[in-house]
Symmetry: C2
């Protein structure tokens, strides 16, 4: 097996815990598991074997494959899965990322988004590949709870939605995040890491700003997304 | 010049924009600047030269030094600075990180902390080295606005503070972050990335929880810190 390429139909989870997440959440798309001879035969290992046996998932002991696919020395289990289809639920809330370019950021955003109960992610191209093993890893498995869909442009997405409030987050906005009244259904829109959303988004929905001091130019993208997720969902989380 | 080691008395900024941040904020501690022959002679470059000349900071053209110190190909300016002394202001609000181990996280936390106007950071050992060039870089220069101090234990810090509220953030807490009334002066305390704060912190101050769904184990540390910073400072930021 070769290192992941964007055109592949399969991707993989690097590491024992992450592979267990895959198996717990999506045994249906898991194709096979590679195990290194150095993997401890501990509880997590037993659980992995058990789920594989139950679901007829092939287990292959191969130090060579693992050394090929992983850059890290302490990766002892890899789970290969079939990429799942793109779809989003138009009746639910959305996070929309315009041209995200950092894989670690994307994974962390998926983790926080699932954490705050928003399971639908829209990505506007050009953008990083959501199935890159680096994104999978930094999502810590949250990607296996996610619906997502790529669009060629924001307009392409925008014309498909209705009956919802749209909030572009941008430093050029005047409405403060803290003052919003959370509507029934919404899309939170964030720009690229380096430049943010351009002025054309001032015409869309209700642009919001997360106010901060002038000592920094902007917040890190995944921090901005997390803060917004928190503010929009904090009154729902209480009951969980 | 050799690659950074923790025992060095100097550290450095990797990159043109970051080095300009250093020069703008702390020309007093900047020792010298290295410039690569490939650096464009643009506006940022002119600004760097100007500040160096004004402050008698040595400028050295050396591709070799830059290639030595940087792992990235597109780093064309490096600024060497003397590590600044440890001190915190006991009359201000604090962020307290117990045993942080990820350099990127630490830098991002510094950026958000300065962004929300909290300029004093306490770090409980063992912990990563705040002067590592990776931390400097991910802080995007915010570190040059920061006061910080390492302590050998939380108790060592705790006995030095008074007249303030202390909020340990932990999943074991019962008070919801969203319900707090922001006091006059406070310390926000966060645990290590992998494990969080242990139960002993339940006895300290008012433990707080950022509620999220059970679909994730925890939030990423820098996202948790950013959310807390936002909630504690959002009514002050409005006037800026």
């Amino acid at each position: 097996m070769k290192k992941y390429k964007k055109s592949d139909l399969e991707s993989y989870t690097l590491g024992t815990t992450l592979t267990l997440e895959l198996l717990l959440k999506r045994p249906d798309i898991t194709k096979r598991i590679y195990i290194h001879s150095k993997q401890e035969r501990n509880e997590t290992y037993q659980k992995i074997i058990e789920i594989c046996n139950k679901n007829n998932i092939e287990i292959i002991e191969s130090d060579k494959t693992i050394n090929n696919l992983s850059d890290k020395e302490n990766c002892y289990v890899i789970g290969v899965f079939q990429k799942f289809e793109e779809k989003i639920d138009y009746d639910e809330n959305h996070i929309v990322l315009v041209n995200p370019s950092n894989m670690g950021n994307l994974g962390t955003i998926i983790r926080s988004s699932i954490g705050f109960g928003i399971k639908n992610l829209v990505i506007i191209k050009p953008a990083v590949d959501i199935f890159d093993p680096k994104v999978i890893r930094s999502s810590m498995g949250a990607i296996f709870n996610l619906n997502f869909k790529y669009f060629d442009s924001f307009q392409e997405y925008y014309k498909n939605i209705k009956d919802r409030e749209v909030y572009p987050f941008m430093l050029q906005a005047t409405t403060n995040l803290k003052d919003i009244k959370v509507p029934n259904k919404y899309s939170l829109v964030f720009g690229p890491e380096a430049s943010g959303l351009d002025n054309s988004y001032l015409e869309i929905g209700t642009p919001l700003i997360i106010k901060h001091t002038k000592n920094i130019d902007s917040l890190n993208l995944d921090n901005a997304v997390s803060i917004s997720l928190y503010e929009f969902t904090k009154n729902e989380m209480e009951d969980l």
